[in-house]
């Protein structure tokens, strides 16, 4: 599988502070890439550069290139709304809208102009199925999303991200607010989803990175220290700093 994301010498500044320093990496299509590193290392900032989420922060500025499927997403004239349809995002805390399960999933397609009720129902069902939530909610789609458990809410948020038909899904610590059983379900789900999607995830849990990702990227002080196959990264990392971090010598 060729690469779907190519990042070239990417730097990110929040005002005068340089949060990312010359990061270059490529992400293979239909794979799971885990971004690891201590707090403040830049992994979440990096994730957010991949769909231009950092622009929401005043004073944020990037240099370098992020090429997704051949297009530089920072080039002038890029439609950011269309970009975020292509590159979905799932956040740390499940954040369902205070509306029904159905409306949560249908929200994105509606925003992008889907009005046909049958078509919407199809999208809702297929997205909930892909997010492994359908069997649990199919009987009661009109129920408030807020009545679901935390793990179910997070799968609903994944369904909501999938509903607009992205090719890439970014996940920012998607399990950090979940119990171990819900975490295991999301991890299984991530493995399923990579059949069809490219997933880039930030995780604080190294065992999780080891369990679900194909590639692991280790960030430290805004730099990409090492990028490699997950099995290699966790058994014989090449860089001393990676070694020290993953064996718990710091961080």
């Amino acid at each position: 599988m060729g690469s779907i994301i190519e990042v070239e010498s990417l730097s990110l500044y929040y005002g005068a502070f340089r949060a990312l320093k010359d990061v270059s990496l490529s992400v293979a299509g239909r794979s799971v890439t885990a971004l690891i590193g201590p707090s403040g290392c830049g992994k979440t900032s990096f994730l957010r550069t991949l769909n231009r989420m950092n622009e929401l922060i005043p004073g944020a500025r990037t240099t370098g290139r992020v090429v997704v499927e051949g297009r530089d997403i920072y080039a002038p004239g890029i439609d950011v709304a269309a970009l975020r349809k292509e590159i979905g995002m799932v956040f740390q805390r499940p954040n369902p809208f205070p509306m029904s399960i159905f409306d949560n999933v249908a929200y994105g397609p509606r925003c992008h102009g889907v009005r046909d009720r049958r078509r919407l129902a199809e999208i809702v069902e297929s997205s909930l199925t892909e997010a492994a939530l359908w069997p649990e909610v199919s009987g009661n789609l009109r129920k408030s999303a807020l009545s679901l458990s935390g793990g179910q809410q997070q799968r609903l948020c994944i369904a909501r991200a999938l509903a607009v038909g992205p090719r890439i899904v970014l996940m920012d610590e998607p399990c950090s607010a979940l119990d171990p059983i819900s975490t295991a379900r999301i991890e299984d789900l991530i493995t399923e989803l990579k059949q069809a999607y490219t997933i880039v995830m930030v995780t604080h849990n190294m065992q999780q990175a080891a369990r679900v990702s194909d590639t692991t990227a280790f960030f430290l002080d805004g730099e990409l220290v090492e990028l490699g196959g997950t099995a290699t990264m966790f058994t014989r990392p090449g860089d001393r700093r990676t070694e020290d971090y993953i064996t718990g010598r710091f961080g």
């Binding site: 966790f234 990676t242 993953i246 010598r249 710091f250």
Partner: protein, 219 residues
């Protein structure tokens, strides 16, 4: 800031016990061959009896290694250290078994004069024992070159084994009354040859532990 102090301490203790086991095994080989050379049945019996405590230490190290894997989820060099420990204790335990096998030969031959003074067998034992000692030292110092140099000596041991084999064959052909004892001595040479092979495994694991490369030495 350093973290995981409890884990680090447990790893230290695990390595210390591995070295303790290694030292016991080394002593067994030395004493077993000495007992054979001197016809010392009492020393031989002590080796046979002592094998159980080496086995017990192996089981204990194995249990604690598995526990660390389950409870601490070690990564990278920590993972390789524990993986290596699990493999090395098996080799050490086999070496101890061979020491006991040699001691049993001493017991079987007790009271009989040897058909020839033992020269090459103690030499083989020396080299094999040094290989084990060097392997443990390479483990302590995390020194893959030292491990590799040690493994080269397996060739000397193989050479001595072939020499002993030919020599004993000639003795047996010349005087069939020697067959029983010569066969036992041949067993001893074979046990020592196996000891050197286990020492070679030890070298391979030390190299893996330090570099992450799994290499076959003297295949």
């Amino acid at each position: 800031m350093a973290s995981r102090n409890t884990f680090r301490r447990e790893l230290e203790v695990l390595q210390r016990d591995l070295l303790k086991m290694g030292t016991m095994v080394e002593a067994s080989i030395f004493t077993a061959v000495k007992s054979l050379k001197e016809g010392d049945a009492q020393a031989a019996q002590a080796i046979v009896d002592g094998d159980a405590s080496i086995d017990a230490l192996e089981v204990d190290i194995e249990r604690r290694s598995l526990q660390l894997l389950a409870l601490q989820q070690p990564m990278a060099s920590d993972l390789r250290l524990i993986g290596t420990t699990l493999k090395i204790i098996t080799d050490l335990e086999r070496i101890a078994d061979h020491a006991a096998d040699i001691a049993k030969v001493t017991l079987r031959l007790a009271g009989q004069p040897l058909i020839k003074p033992l020269v090459d067998i103690p030499r083989m034992a020396d080299i094999s024992q040094q290989m084990v000692a060097e392997g443990l030292q390479a483990f302590i110092e995390r020194d893959p070159e030292r491990a590799e140099r040690m493994a080269l000596r397996d060739e000397e041991v193989d050479h001595l084994y072939n020499q002993i084999f030919r020599e004993l064959l000639v003795i047996m052909l010349e005087d069939p009354r020697t067959v029983r004892q010569a066969t036992y001595l041949l067993f001893v040479a074979m046990y020592l040859e196996r000891v050197a092979d286990h020492a070679t495994n030890l070298a391979e694991w030390v190299i893996y532990m330090v570099t992450g490369d799994r290499r076959e030495l003297n295949d």
